[in-house]
Assembly symmetry: C2
């Protein structure tokens, strides 16, 4: 079976997800065509996952399909955008049908869960890697940026941090415990905070998704906003599973590891006080934006910004 | 120097190209934001180039930068779209500064030439490959598709065909002749027919760019339009250089080889007769759309459709 037949069989169903997605023309032509609703801005981001760098060799293709789209969609959450459609650039050593079937299944589940329809793509031969570009929509001028944090704003994060980072220690566990299963699920099936991102629009002054680690990603907000921050270490949310698995070092995972795809945001104290309880329940206040540049944990300066604390591929490579 | 510094130094200048590009927010945040002008549709396509598959190992980085953007922009030409912006997903074994500098230079020249501004991207470590997504704009509903060809329409192509395909025979030529230099230039620096694509809007009933070879790509139009065609072999335009280099087999290159990134279109005879001379000068009539399905050359059926004649990576791999 040739490339075109394989693509048709496994990927075209992802282009026919129910609902309105503003796509005028989907896969199969030289380009796709999207009609942006009046009053909306197009919000888009591209992310690459490479075998052996972003996921282990031989990684389950259904997990890979989910993870790849989740990682990309998380950037839409960070902007407060409503998901719309995506393109897939898939590079494979060979077109093995079982692999493609399972990959498309995981990708399709994620697409349906996140509200994303496949708009187009390119399938090529080469070392296993994939790039996904996601498109979202946001009211004109309402996209959440990294650059709006103001002195006195509260720093909040969603969910718990460090679980997915700890999961790397258990990827090969033959018979994982319940706690190990919990963090493994957080790694394999991240759930981008899409609804939370939309809810933060008009409330947060700045937002980012935690993909490189809390310190690194908060550092990006501080740099873009030309401010500093102090984090209260004891307030950083850690799951009971991570606390049991890692004891005293659980907080190190929470501060330094990425891959949880939670949101970190800054918002004014008055806005926080007036926020609906349903929103507050999803967030934890962990610190405050300060005038003094740099990032501090319990008042002690830590390295931040420029990804120094996070997963900087080239720094690891050299 | 870390990933972020390298990206800033070499790629951020490509985000600051002069002119209006409808970008509200460029690189540096979780997403880019584009505001589509009222009355316009967004037209977009993603293309991947992999080392050793789409370009030779050790290929000059400045040539690669140009080629990668040209290949992607050619899809905009095929839709009649005006170029707007692009994203770059670049995967590199190591962040070598001279390579990045030269690559960014070639990419920047192409971006300026085509009218594309860098909107965002992702830079990762891994085997050399890159995916580029291009964004263009077109009047709502005016995008040229593959599916509109009608019986009796003329089949036209731009420029000459087969040059870039023949160039593959001379990539290692130490001291190329003038003819070899001509075809090599066609391979290294394809020039997508962006202005021609815009000019064909409202005139052509269907269009495609010739990336896989004339027979394969015309086959895509025929399949999408549910028609057939007959091509007059003697009319297929071949450059004097290719004719001198390849003699009688020059036409085989023109029919089967891709990489020239010319346009192939169908248009009604009356429209062709009334077309401005400046447009006619860029096109050659090579055949006619017929009711009988399939593609014929001088009345003899040839294989077409589903990329069977073109560069189908997976068919080559298996």
């Amino acid at each position: 079976m040739g490339e075109f037949e394989l693509i048709r069989q496994y990927f075209l169903p992802l282009a026919r997800v129910r609902g309105s997605h503003s796509l005028v023309l989907g896969p199969g032509d030289d380009c796709a065509v999207q009609r942006i609703p009046p009053g909306s801005d197009l919000v888009f981001s591209i992310d690459t996952l490479v075998e052996g760098v972003h996921f282990p060799p031989g990684y389950r293709p259904d997990f890979l399909g989910w993870r790849a789209l989740a990682v990309a969609a998380s950037d839409l959450a960070a902007m407060g955008a409503t998901p719309s459609c995506f393109t897939l650039a898939l590079t494979l050593p060979a077109a093995r049908e079982p692999w493609l079937r399972d990959f498309a299944q995981g990708l399709g589940k994620a697409a349906e869960s996140f509200g994303l329809v496949l708009a187009g793509g390119d399938t090529t031969r080469g070392p296993l890697a994939l790039s996904i570009q996601v498109h979202g929509l946001v009211e004109q001028g309402a996209a959440l940026c990294r650059s709006g944090a103001r002195i006195g704003d509260l720093v909040v994060v969603s969910g718990t941090l460090g679980d997915a980072g700890a999961a790397l220690d258990y990827l090969d566990a033959g018979n994982p415990t319940a706690d190990e299963k919990f963090v493994l699920e957080r790694y394999h099936h991240p759930r981008p905070r899409l609804k939370l991102g939309v809810a933060l629009r008009g409330l947060a002054t700045a937002a980012i998704d935690v993909s490189d680690g809390l310190l690194a990603d908060l550092g990006h907000i501080l740099e873009a906003s030309a401010v500093g921050a102090n984090i209260d270490r004891a307030r950083v949310p850690v799951s009971p599973a991570l606390a049991r698995l890692k004891g005293e070092s659980a907080l190190d995972y929470a501060l330094h590891c990425g891959d949880d795809y939670e949101l970190c945001a800054a918002l004014p104290e008055a806005g926080w006080a007036a926020a609906p309880p349903s929103l507050k329940a999803q967030l934890t206040v962990i610190g405050v934006i300060e005038a003094e540049p740099g990032l501090r944990v319990d008042g002690i300066a830590v390295s931040s910004g420029s990804g120094a604390e996070g997963f900087d591929h080239f720094r690891r490579a050299t």
